[in-house]
């Protein structure tokens, strides 16, 4: 089974033909033809529909479909935002005089008074900086008790300056109060309902973090992982969003399956329902305050769902795909392979080299939401180019 582990900086999802990735799924091989056919038909049907609606004169407009779902369409390349170096306020971790040298920064969050908390996957303690970037102190240390960590992978500031700290090695979710002292520890595991499978293909972008309205409920990359899901008697690579409340009164999950236009919703009471994703290909997910966004990188369509999986809005950016530069594919693939250990590379390179390549540039590379719940979509650019983000307002 092919395994591709993606580092956080090397964007590789655009390299390969996503339809071929569906077919690569071991269980899907037996029905590869129908899988590919399904994905192709849906993708091209979506593009055709996008072409029709994009023929309108207005650069941006909203309408509703027959079921009342709002559809927002943009033809303009406006709303692009670029963060420039001139806007930098401070930096830390580079100079020899800096108090902290990082090993692998996994996350950071800014408190309401301007202080910044940083998690480093190679240090057990969190690092606290003041509003001007000066190091203040360590928060927590190594261990298994409250306020002790093994590997912190994510931080989330919630209401009242509480901070949620997720340790992905132990599965512990720690709540810190405004003084950054631990007030509760609980264990969360997205694998409770599903067996994990380390052989899954890791090509999807990470799920961006987000805190939901209500304060005590979260859905985020904290507990998102890719697992195998049994859907219609086939096992596929999938992405699970698990929702938890701090009071432990709620635990439900949504499972998106790579390449399928369907998701599963497991309610707290054990009921299982299904929903449809009106996209050609589920590629990226971001969590907003009132729900979540699911994006199709082929077509630049983004569906916004409520927490229970009801489609509430459909955003479509008129996008003309361009042919991918083969040299850029080679360069990015070399970069990805060079990050592997020699043994991993020897085992996996032949399979990677044989994967059918994508022909067109994707519409976007990743989705994230800001603390106001606005959706950001990163435009496709080649390695070494400046980042450009399209910011969607709430309307």
């Amino acid at each position: 089974m092919l395994r591709v582990r993606q580092t956080r900086h090397v964007r590789t999802s655009f390299l390969f033909d996503p339809h071929s990735m569906i077919a690569r799924s071991r269980q899907c091989l037996r029905v590869a033809a129908s899988c590919v056919w399904l994905a192709l038909v849906s993708a091209y049907a979506d593009r055709a529909a996008a072409g029709d609606i994009c023929a309108a004169e207005a650069p941006r407009f909203s309408t509703r479909d027959s079921s009342g779902v709002a559809i927002s369409v943009s033809r303009a390349a406006a709303a692009l935002h670029i963060i420039a170096d001139d806007d930098e306020l401070w930096r830390t971790g580079e100079a020899e005089t800096d108090r902290v040298l990082f090993g692998q920064v996994t996350d950071a969050t800014r408190l309401s008074d301007g202080r910044v908390l940083v998690a480093d996957g190679r240090q057990m303690a969190l690092q606290l900086f003041d509003s001007s970037g000066r190091w203040v102190r360590e928060v927590g240390d190594k261990g298994s008790g409250p306020g002790q960590y093994s590997r912190v992978s994510a931080l989330l500031r919630t209401t009242g300056d509480s901070v949620l700290v997720y340790d992905d090695r132990t599965g512990k979710l720690t709540t810190l109060d405004a003084q950054l002292s631990p007030v509760s520890v609980r264990r969360v595991s997205p694998s409770l309902r599903r067996p994990t499978d380390s052989a899954a293909v890791y090509l999807l972008a990470a799920v961006s973090k987000g805190v939901l309205d209500g304060g005590d409920v979260l859905v985020s990359r904290l507990v998102a992982s890719r697992v195998r899901a049994q859907v219609t008697n086939m096992s596929r690579d999938s992405l699970v969003l698990q929702r938890e409340s701090a009071a432990d009164s709620l635990s439900d999950s949504l499972t998106f399956v790579l390449g399928l236009q369907r998701f599963e919703y497991y309610a707290n009471n054990g009921d299982l329902t299904f929903g449809d994703v009106p996209l050609g290909y589920v590629e990226s997910i971001a969590v907003g305050a009132r729900g979540f966004f699911v994006g199709d990188a082929l077509t630049f369509n983004v569906a916004q769902f409520s927490l229970r999986g009801t489609l509430e809005r459909f955003m479509r950016v008129c996008h003309e795909p361009a042919l991918l530069d083969e040299r850029e594919i080679d360069r990015t693939m070399d970069e990805m392979l060079s990050a592997m250990s020699p043994s991993s590379r020897a085992m996996e390179e032949p399979g990677i080299r044989q994967l059918p390549r994508a022909r067109f540039t994707p519409a976007h590379l990743e989705l994230l939401t800001d603390t106001r719940g606005q959706l950001w979509a990163r435009e496709f650019t080649y390695t070494g180019s400046a980042q450009r983000w399209r910011v969607f307002d709430q309307a």
């Binding site: 956080r8 900086h9 964007r11 709303a79 935002h81 670029i82 963060i83 420039a84 170096d85 806007d87 930098e88 306020l89 401070w90 930096r91 830390t92 971790g93 580079e94 040298l101 990082f102 090993g103 692998q104 920064v105 996350d107 950071a108 969050t109 800014r110 910044v116 940083v118 900086f129 970037g133 973090k209 994230l368 800001d370 603390t371 106001r372 606005q374 950001w376 650019t381 390695t383 070494g384 180019s385 400046a386 980042q387 983000w389 910011v391």
Partner: protein
């Protein structure tokens, strides 16, 4: 200069963006940017 490919947006909030940078030599840093929402 603008955010390059070796930058990762960690958090975007009201008026700021927290960014992780990895230098070509692998040195990691955290930077805070001013961001004016459009």
């Amino acid at each position: 200069m603008e955010l390059q490919d070796n930058a990762q947006l960690l958090e975007v909030g009201d008026g700021y963006a927290l960014v992780r940078y990895t230098s070509p030599l692998g040195v990691e840093s955290v930077r805070l940017y001013r961001y004016a929402p459009g």
